[in-house]
Amino acid sequence: MESATVAVGHDHADHHHGPPEANQSSRIDRQTLGILLFIVSEVMLFGAFFASYFFLRVVVDPPTWPAFPLPKGVAGMNTAILVSSSFTVHYALESIRRGNRAGLKLGLVATWLLGATFLFIQINEYVHLGFSARDLSFGSIFYCLTGLHGAHVFVGLMLLSFATIRAFRGHFGPAEKDHLGVEVPGIYWHFVDVMWIIVYVTVYIL
């Protein structure tokens, strides 16, 4: 009897590697919960920058805001590009939920290209703006806000690159737990998109 128990114990040890499964009290899986908590911390970071923006806008003397002309049209077109990339990443995820691998690949590649185009246009805008981060408080906060967002787009592109490579190597499946590697970057990408809409409306339009 004792030997049988020992044999079962060894069998269990052979199959289970690493620490025991963590107790999951939440109904959200831990990867999604992790990215949501990360996004909450990012909202606080952007909130600090927006608070600085509005503070400077109120206290600046003389009250000339924006201090330099901004290319609203080009930035508006760039906004449309980034918004459309949210639709393509959503298409990619809807495709893999239905088991359509070609749609997943197409959606991810399109999202990556649209994101890269956005970043390229943003850098091109910086080159042609005619003012730098050293020019007045407006220049500083403009580059801080748009630069912070640009850094997030860059990180999002890295995450999408990994997801795209994995998609082309045949990873991911229709089951919910089998495409978390696309779902989590997708949620992050939506956050980046929403943040840009707020940055665009605040800095370029209002």
Binding site: I187, H190, I197, I198, L206
Partner: protein, 67 residues
């Protein structure tokens, strides 16, 4: 309470529509009017979000009570 990419995408569409509305109103009138509209939309969003979360909490509470 389902929190996934599809749920987040719904909020992206809402923010896009709100942003477009504020942009159009600001360009047609003055930045102050656009700012006030933006503030009103944010407050309305917070109230809607609070009510949505409260309703979901009640649903989860009643489910746990019956299970």
């Amino acid at each position: 309470m389902k929190l996934n990419e599809a749920a987040v995408f719904k909020w992206v569409v809402i923010v896009v529509i709100a942003g477009a509305l504020v942009t159009v109103v600001t360009l047609l009138t003055r930045p102050l009017v656009g700012s006030l509209l933006g503030l009103a939309i944010v407050i309305a969003g917070c109230v809607y979000g609070y009510r949505w979360v409260s309703q979901k909490r009640r649903e989860v509470g009643s489910k746990n009570l019956h299970s």
